[in-house]
Amino acid sequence: MSTHKTGTLPSAKQSAFQKFKNEYFWRYLIITCGLFIILLTLGIGFFLVVKGSGTFTEFHHSVWEFLFSSDWSPMDSTTESGGGVGAAIYIFGSISTCTLALLFVAPFSITSAILMTEIAPNSGTKIFQPAIEIFVGIPSVVYGWIGLTVLVPFIKHLFHPKMGGYSVLAASIVLAVMIFPTITTVAADAIRSVSSDYRKAAYGMGSTRWQVIYKVIIPAATPGILTGVILGLARAFGEALAVAMVIGKTRAFPANILSPTNNLTAAIASDMGNSATGGEQNMALWTMALLLFIISIFFIFLIHIISGKEKKKHA
C-alpha cells in the first residue's frame, strides 16, 4: 500500500473499497429507503386495484350497481356468483355518519382553535395544546367502547328508539369526539400562521377583537381551516372498529338519525374474515376497500387544490 506518502490529501488515502464503504454504500442505502416508500404506496394502490376490480371484471357487475344499488346479496363461495353487490347502504352509512359528525364538531373545533390562538394564547399553549395532543393518541377502540357502554344506553334511555341505542346518532357522536383534535390542531396552526401585520392593521383601525377575528383572521385562515376539516373527514371515513361498535350493523337505510345502519368500514371489518377468499362477497368487500382508498386519495387531492390556490394568490 502506497497510501502513506506524505503530501497527499486524506481523501486520496482511502482505497476505492473504503470510499464505497464510507460513502456510496450509505448513499445508495438511503436512496433505496426513499424509493421504498414510493414503491410501498404504489404497491398498496396496485394490490387494492387488482383485488377490488374483481367484482367488475370477474363477476361482471357494473360500477353503477356497486355504487347505487342497495341490493346486497353476494354469494359466499368460490364457484357460485350472481348475487347483488349493491353497496349503497354502506356508502350512505359512511357519508351520513361522517357528515353529521362534521356538523357536530366543526363549530366546537373552530371556536376552540380561535380561543387558543387569539383570545387566550397563554392557556392555549399551556393547557389546550397538550390536552389536545393527548386526545389525538387515545385509541379509537377505547372511544368505541365508551360509546358502546355509555352513549348507546344513554340514547336508548333518552329517546326510546325501537331498535335500542345503536344508531347513526351514536356513531356520529363517537366520530365527532375522535376528529375534534385533528381539526382543532390544524385550524389552530392555520390561524397562528396568519401574518401578524393583518392583526396590527385591523386593530390599528380601531376594530374590536371580534371584528378582527370575523373580518380578518377567519377569511385569511379559511384554506388552512378547510384542510383541517378535510383531514378530520378523512379520519372519520377510515375509522372502522369504533363505528362498528355503535352503528348497529343493520343492512338497511336509516329511517332517521336514531335508527341503526351499517357503513363501509364496519362491513369490511366484520365480514372479511368469514368470507371465502376469491368468492363474490370477498371480492365485493375488496371493492369497498378500494373505494375507501380512492376516497382518501381524493381528500389528499382536495387539500392540494386548496393549498395550491392559496399559493397562487400570494405569488
Binding site: 460513502e23 426513499g34 397538550p130 393518541g137 385509541p139 377502540v141 358502546l148 371580534w210 372502522a240 375488496w286
Partner: protein, 299 residues
C-alpha cells in the same frame, strides 16, 4: 343627552365583542372539559372494576395481551425506525427539489391518510394470504410499521431541515464527507427530536386495532415456560398469533358472553391503554422541553 350614531356603533361593536368572547370561552372550553371528563371516566372505571386476577397471564387477566402489545410495537419499530429515518435523511439531504420529491411527499401524505383497515387488508393479503401463513405478530408489526412510517419520516426530515446551517457547513469545511456529516453531526444533533417522533409513533401503535384484525389475529396461546423460539407457544416467537390490548377490547364486545368478566376486562384494558398513551405523550413532551432548554431556543 343623545349618543351620536358613531358612538352607538362603537357601543354596539363593544357589546358584540364581549358577547362573542364569552361564546368563544363557552364553546372552546366545552369540548376540552368534555375530553378531560372522558379521560377521567375511562381511568376511573378501570380502577373501580379492578380485581387482582386482571394482572395475571391467564384468560381472566390481560397479562398476555399486554405483553403482545409491547412486543408487537417493539417489532414494528425495529422495522419502521431504520426505514423511516433513512427516508427522512434522503428527503432532507440527498434528494433535489423537483417533481420526484413532490411525488414522494404525496406518497407519504397518502400513506398517512390511509384508513388503518385498508392497511390491515393489504397486510392480510401480502403477509398472510400470499405467504400462506396463519395470523402472526410479525404480519401485525409490518402493518403497524406501514402506519407509523409517514410520521417517523416527516419528523426526521423536519428535524434535519430545522438544524442551523452552520452545523453542516462547519462539518463540510473541516473536510468531512456527506455521509460523515450526516452520521456524526446532523443525526446526533437532532436525535432528541427524532426520538420524540418515534415515541409518538409507538404511542399510536399501542392503540392500533383495525390494522391488526386480520394480521395479528385475535387469539393468544402462550406457554410461559416454553422458551424454544421456534415453538408456536413460545412468547417470543414473532410468528405466532397474538392479540393486542385494543383488539382484546374489541373481542370483549363481540364474544362478551363467553367471558363473564368481559366488561371489567375491557374497562381495565381501556384504562391501561389510555394511561400508556398519556405516559408516552408526557415523555415526548419532557424530551421536547429538554431540547429547547439545552439549545436555548436555537434549534
Amino acid at each position: 343627552m343623545h349618543d351620536s350614531p358613531m358612538k352607538k356603533r362603537i357601543k354596539k361593536a363593544k357589546t358584540v365583542d364581549s358577547l362573542m368572547t364569552k361564546i368563544f370561552y363557552i364553546f372552546g372550553s366545552f369540548f376540552l372539559f368534555f375530553l378531560l371528563i372522558l379521560a377521567a371516566y375511562i381511568i376511573g372505571k378501570g380502577v373501580i372494576d379492578f380485581y387482582p386476577e386482571l394482572l395475571t397471564f391467564t384468560s381472566k387477566g390481560i397479562g398476555n395481551q399486554f405483553f403482545n402489545t409491547i412486543y408487537l410495537v417493539f417489532l414494528s419499530l425495529v422495522i419502521s425506525v431504520p426505514l423511516g429515518v433513512a427516508a427522512g435523511i434522503y428527503m432532507a439531504e440527498y434528494s433535489k427539489d423537483g417533481k420526484f420529491l413532490t411525488f414522494l411527499r404525496i406518497c407519504i401524505e397518502s400513506l398517512s391518510s390511509l384508513p388503518s383497515i385498508v392497511v390491515g387488508l393489504f397486510g392480510y393479503l401480502v403477509f398472510i394470504l400470499m405467504t400462506g401463513a396463519k395470523w402472526n405478530l410479525m404480519a401485525g408489526a409490518l402493518a403497524v410499521s406501514i402506519l407509523s412510517l409517514p410520521l417517523i419520516t416527516t419528523t426526521t426530515e423536519d428535524a434535519i431541515r430545522s438544524l442551523p446551517k452552520g452545523f453542516k457547513e462547519g462539518s463540510m469545511a473541516l473536510g468531512a464527507s456527506q455521509w460523515r456529516t450526516i452520521s456524526k453531526v446532523l443525526l446526533p444533533a437532532c436525535l432528541p427530536r427524532i426520538a420524540t417522533g418515534i415515541i409518538l409513533a409507538a404511542g399510536r401503535g399501542f392503540g392500533e386495532a383495525a390494522a391488526l384484525l386480520y394480521t395479528a389475529g385475535q387469539s393468544t396461546i402462550i406457554n410461559w415456560s416454553n422458551w424454544d423460539i421456534t415453538s408456536p407457544t413460545c412468547p417470543l416467537n414473532p410468528f405466532r398469533p397474538g392479540e393486542t390490548l385494543s383488539l382484546h377490547i374489541w373481542g370483549m364486545r363481540t364474544e362478551g358472553s363467553l367471558n363473564p368478566n368481559a366488561s371489567a376486562i375491557a374497562n381495565f384494558s381501556a384504562a391501561v391503554l389510555v394511561i400508556m398513551v398519556l405516559a408516552f405523550s408526557l415523555l415526548a413532551r419532557v424530551i421536547t422541553r429538554r431540547i429547547s432548554k439545552k439549545s436555548g431556543g436555537l434549534i
